[in-house]
Symmetry: C2
Subunit: 506 residues, 2 copies
């Protein structure tokens, strides 16, 4: 915990964006690499943020009629083979369990007792949940089946990056089965809206809602919808997806039901998921050169009370007031819950502790020193206004207005991110040459560049996929809000079918 | 969903206790075997119970200063080797990951890309958390470190049984590091008390708190404490353990800190855990021949409102009243939360639905039919009084008194289990012959037998381990509450050092 020179994080975003990202995580003590390549340790501050994301989602899942369940970690190879036969572009990097025992041999432990059939650590639970649904569902009266699972999954990663791309990650996967298309489509959109709401209202992260073009769809899906966010380097990050699977998966997994009329029909199914990747998105939306900035709705500690003690006498004078202040703030409400206040009494110098909370992104830090006792004041610093001088305020005002301050900070973070995304979204690029110049001219991973989104008409032809691939650009989505009229396709000049969001992406 | 003959569960406890256990789980739709041997699918009703257990524990963990974190699923073989070298009686049945890719070969998928070092799916996270602690902890100011993890773990099981013994199960594992022995010992006892409180106050499951004898200790622990519960077949089930590990694990994992005086010292550590096994204990404590009985504090749905409809006209008349009743009950409070009420409108015959809720253990079922509308009444059935006739009660009384009914049911279940455990605990067996007769005379897995606990003085000698093993009896614990004077050891006749609980066990 060394005092920073100019900024709390070295390097800054402008100096080296990817390294800045790693240092923000380290500085906020959120996660670290583990001795197992590609797997991370999520430390208490990072995990508390995940728990808040989980809580915000889980409440909404339950309010919309979903139930949680738990399916096995391991999946038989034959299930994966069945899926591989159905699905092109099947990812094969998975952890394979081949033995179920260790024995000692020459003082070492070696694998023993080979399995008859190898087992895969779930990269997703589509197949095993489909198998369960085919047994559970019998009648129209059993539908809809609305299941969610909170779980760890594993996809072997060669170039892992904390939260963004790790071999093991935590996520939720929703899997639902419906009697008809309309009901399944309504579900698909309902869950996308849940994701949008949590992204914008809780994470204060503006997102664009839309549909993926055909060549970006989840394999086997009829439609894939997504929320896309812009990171501070102008790249896109897919923050959540919701798929309408039609009857494709129901046919493959034999998920059938008897209709009210007595016939047998295949269900219409959906799936949808978000993961710990959201924490990466949160960092790259809000963090600055002093570290993380947390939207108050998500912050595990919203207000830090920091006693400034220079001697034992100070302690006797300051601590009762600091405790009283913390208690009073904790009895106030923000967002329908008591304000989460932390009195930091650890035996480290106050400036070190203050910078630690700055790096961790605590929305409000209150310092209470010997001189505050008589006037009943505290020095307030807001994480969204780091440049400003601390404000010396009376305790009564601090207590009464804290809910309001937190609401203001929540709003500021969302507004700032919206302004940034808007400024970095080009809507004036209308020909291929400008398009190529925009994306080709920029160095990757550069924070100070003008890289961002291009919103432009697109013809919908699959031939454009290769053009985009050559530029390392992707279509993020076709936004739901479309203009009344479209100009010609920015790539081919042909008549456009929709406006698309083009971007480089994580 | 067929209407039962005499009891909702076949066979009954008396007919075939182990089979009854499986049928209760099936009848309550809590879990099922999966296509992966030894791994279960936890279905929504079972998982909702687990979520309530998690919530009850997690609130108490946080209230006592613990933070959640997440550590990797996979553990390098060298970590396990290190542990194996330290720990005798090391269990070797684990899932071993040896490859990280699948490739197609002759139309099949086969494992490819062997790992340089095999990885183990965590059977527990002691070693990997110890490694993290050795990096995290530097100074006395960092202590105590109080970490909990909610996770899935895996221990290969040859004879799996739902909830009681599965290859994969869900649990929490607490791992803490302290500056001195007193602080670590206080932590060990504090967490045991958290377990006792949740077992008795939430699960309504009486437990005996005590210490394990040396030969039943967790390998490497200085002291192992436990809560032990009596199942309805008279066997014991260890429902939770809390270990004081001294400096043994800190030495093995090199967890050191600089003291206030500037010296370096090894931490004193603890660990403690409970698992989805608690659900097995819950079933075998409270279920009867009609299925599960849930203590209201734990029940995902505490009150079921069941409309009785024989025609479409009935529906128009009954549904508004049923909805109003459900809403009014849901605005009442039990245990500090709104009462969880479920209006079951599914299109199945009412008797089928009623028996389903009986099997699921819902504490209260209210039936509302056409004849109830005029008088504003409902027929109330309490799951703790299955023999009684349903009571026809006015809606106002039902609403106002529902919190009280639920509190009564919670109390009744705990009291019944206490009475059962007391009646089945023999305190009069004082010689080896009677002891052997008690345990040898009884068939295993027999519900109707008198099998139970023996509480008797014990000499503490390790030679008694073999005697007990021959009888398939174990010492469950040395209870904390000990008499002022002890008679001679029930096994050896030598002077006793403590009273022990002897039992057959799961």
């Amino acid at each position: 915990m060394a005092k920073p020179q100019k900024t709390a994080i070295t390097p800054t975003r402008a100096e080296n964006y990817p390294d800045w990202y790693q240092q923000v995580i380290k500085g906020a003590d959120m996660a670290e690499n583990s001795p197992v390549r590609g797997c991370m340790v999520i430390k208490p501050w990072g995990y508390a943020i995940w728990e808040r994301i989980q809580g915000a989602l889980d409440r909404r899942f339950k309010a919309t009629g979903h139930e949680n369940a738990y399916f096995p970690l391991l999946i038989p190879l034959r299930f994966i083979e069945k899926e591989a036969a159905h699905v092109e572009g099947f990812a094969k990097e998975m952890a394979v369990v081949t033995h179920h025992r260790l024995v000692e041999k020459d003082g070492r432990l070696v694998p023993d007792a080979p399995l008859e059939e190898p087992l895969i650590i779930r990269p997703t639970s589509e197949t095993i949940i489909g198998e369960a649904f085919s047994n559970w569902i019998r009648s129209y009266r059993d539908l809809p089946v609305l299941i969610n699972q909170w779980a760890n999954v594993m996809r072997w990663e060669m170039r892992p990056r904390l939260f963004l791309r790790t071999s093991e990650f935590l996520w939720q996967e929703g899997h639902t089965a419906h009697a008809d298309e309309a009901d399944a489509r309504a579900e698909t959109m309902r869950m996308l809206e849940v994701y949008r709401e949590v992204a914008e209202d809780v994470l204060a992260m503006p997102v664009i809602c839309g549909e993926k073009p055909e060549f970006e769809r989840f394999p086997g899906a009829v439609n894939t919808y997504c929320i896309e966010a812009m990171m501070q380097d102008g790249k896109a990050l897919q923050a959540g997806t919701s798929h309408y699977l039609g009857q494709n998966f129901a046919r493959a997994a034999n998920i059938r039901f008897q209709t009210e009329a007595g016939d047998w029909a295949h269900c219409h199914t959906t799936s949808w998921g978000v993961s710990t990747r959201l924490i990466g998105a949160l960092i790259m939306t809000h963090a600055d050169d002093d570290g993380l900035r947390l939207p108050p709705a998500l912050a595990p500690a919203q207000v830090i009370v920091l006693p400034i003690l220079r001697s034992e006498e100070d302690k006797a004078a300051v601590m009762p007031f600091a405790e009283e202040l913390a208690r009073a703030i904790g009895s106030q409400i923000f967002n329908g819950e008591p304000i989460r206040v932390k009195l930091d009494t650890r035996d480290y110098p106050a400036p070190e502790k203050r910078w630690e909370w700055v790096r961790k992104g605590a929305p409000v830090i209150l310092e209470v020193g010997p001189r505050d006792i008589e006037n009943r004041t505290a020095a307030m610093a807001r994480r969204d206004r780091m440049g400003e001088k601390k404000a010396i305020l009376p305790d009564s005002e601090i207590v009464m207005r804290m809910g309001g301050y937190l609401a203001e900070i929540q709003g500021t973070l969302l507004a700032e991110a919206r302004t940034f995304a808007k400024a970095r979204t080009r809507t004036d690029i209308r020909d291929r040459q400008s398009f190529e110049a925009f994306f080709a001219g920029e160095a990757e991973d550069s924070f100070s560049s003008d890289l961002g989104f291009v919103r432009a008409p697109w013809c919908g032809e699959s031939s454009t996929e290769a053009m985009l691939k050559a530029l390392k650009v992707t279509i993020r989505c076709l936004p739901f809000d479309q203009p009344a009229r479209l100009g010609p396709c920015v790539l081919t000049g042909k008549p456009a079918t929709a406006e698309a969001i083009f971007a480089k992406a994580y």
